[in-house]
Subunit: 325 residues, 2 copies
């Protein structure tokens, strides 16, 4: 089952289910008015939503045409956005490029930061560019949307709390990062609003590609129409979503609708490309002594999607243009 | 006007207004079912809530008795909890004690971290103590609950976005802090769920004590019944709430219901006491070479409140007991 949120002038939009071919949708308000409501009462609502999705696929409810530009992020505002950095190749590359050591516990203790979650961009929203000197970058990520998570959940029980999967473009102002990290309190200004994919899918929707708490699909990144990354999201995710969840739930509980991110998808093989410019620049700096690829500029486009073995665009396409400075 | 949220078995509770004497309340569901709803449509709802509060004070609506234990935090879950560290005396003391330098930009660039906001403790909830070795501490803070804030708001326009004021107990596992900060991504496990005061008050409720984006009241902290801090919250707040808001809104917008914290209230004069144990321990370490005061233990009680010039307990009392380990 795939769910989406249609822009209707309210803060939380209206919930819809998406047809198998991704070309049509059906209003789900009779089951739950918003995705947050559905997640708040998932046990009671899931059955009705799945029945609606089946009826839509069977042609038994009237479909509405699906206009990607009419969709908000699945949760236009979320109670928490917790983002890991689970692809260690990314951490090693960007830290090496800025002359910083990865923490000694890199392989045993996940890196996680708490992101802003009250204002999330729609999958086709323009990305504001307040100041090009801040070095704006995209980051293609995989995300899990959670149900209620009790404090202290172990990794081997974490899977039952994953309700939905989606993608994110975790925009970052790279040149604001070193100053913020030097202050010791983590990212803040360097992380503006994140955008999420048009559709959120239940894990069964990708079948065997969701296993061991990892999404074994390719995530594709296009920058100004050119494919700059075609990355395996599964094998190199060092900490699985289950391990990330155990880590973050060690000292507190999470409410339904919390979004947990993988961090920038990254592969050690440079032939796979990149899902953030910083990584490309890091490789250039390491290999040639200088970073040549520029950061995002006004008018640039960024697209992020993931296709399954049958070629289906599972989560729809994050498709954003960078606004004028 | 003072607002509160009554525990009713739902995730967000039900909104009430509080009588001037703090001893009774009136159901506000006819105006807005929850505080989040009231904040989402503040322009439309504020008038009705103020009228209800006036009627309650005038004896024109039937009062319900106010049982502090029946209250949740004003927002039992919030879209964002953004916490500054605006009392520089606190930053200097705790960093000096752990041999770390304050950042060189301490006086010009606010320290702010993004906290978890999806599960917030009620003002009388037990504080879970998963492991006493983590060094659990309280932190008495002042908070502003915001309306919608556009990106790029300057400090001199920030005041109009402050809807309500309240207090917080920002519980911290001190012994988890150094390891997390060394990783560079800021606090996560070291910051379990925060509790807020029973009442949230509109700024006019404290009159002239709210000026320049600072709350000029005394915040009192009692630990096991003993007053350990009686601190001036106004003059030593180096960055005002308006300056904090300008800082955090530099690269993104905030939704109504975002909570902005001052950081641990702290005064340079040791006679005023402390609002977190870490500061007491820091002074001991600096003055005597060792920290003697222990952290929180099972069964301890912590109370935090602020009284105005007339002796009124403006926000009610955060009154928590530490759970069994």
């Amino acid at each position: 089952m795939r769910l989406a949120t249609v822009r209707d002038g309210t803060r939380d939009g209206r919930l819809v289910v998406v047809r198998g071919d991704g070309a049509a949708l059906a209003d789900a308000r009779a089951v739950a008015p918003t995705l947050q409501e559905a997640l708040d009462r998932w046990e009671e609502r899931e059955g009705g939503l799945r029945a609606l999705a089946r009826d839509l696929d069977a042609g038994e409810v009237r479909p509405e045409p699906l206009d990607p530009r009419a969709l908000l992020s699945p949760l236009p505002r979320a109670y928490e956005w917790v983002d890991g950095s689970a692809y260690l190749n990314h951490v090693r590359l960007v830290r090496r490029a800025r002359g910083a050591e990865p923490p000694p516990t890199l392989e045993t203790d996940p890196l996680v930061y708490q992101g802003g979650s009250g204002v999330l961009l729609a999958p086709t929203d323009e990305i504001p560019l307040p100041d090009p000197a801040w070095g704006m970058d995209f980051e293609g990520e995989v995300c899990a949307i959670l149900g209620d998570v009790p404090r202290g959940v172990p990794a081997d029980e974490a899977g039952r709390h994953v309700r939905l999967l989606c993608l994110a473009n975790d925009v970052t102002h790279r040149n604001l990062v070193p100053g913020e990290l030097a202050k010791g309190f983590g990212f803040f200004q360097s992380k503006p609003a994140t955008a999420f994919s048009p559709f959120a899918a239940t894990p069964d929707e990708v079948g065997d590609a969701w296993r061991g708490g990892r999404l074994h699909l390719r995530v594709t990144i296009r920058w100004n129409g050119e494919t700059v990354g075609d990355l395996e999201a599964g094998p190199e995710m060092h900490f699985s979503f289950h391990q990330l969840l155990e880590h973050v739930a060690r000292t507190r509980a999470f409410t339904a609708g919390t979004i947990l991110g993988s961090g920038t998808v990254s592969n050690a093989d440079p032939a796979r490309g990149y899902s953030c410019i910083a990584e490309r620049r890091a490789r250039e700096l390491i290999e040639r002594g200088e970073a040549r690829t520029r950061f995002l500029a006004a008018g640039d486009t960024v697209e992020i999607e993931a296709r399954d073995a049958a070629g289906r665009n599972v989560f729809g396409t994050i498709s954003q243009r960078v606004g004028a400075a």
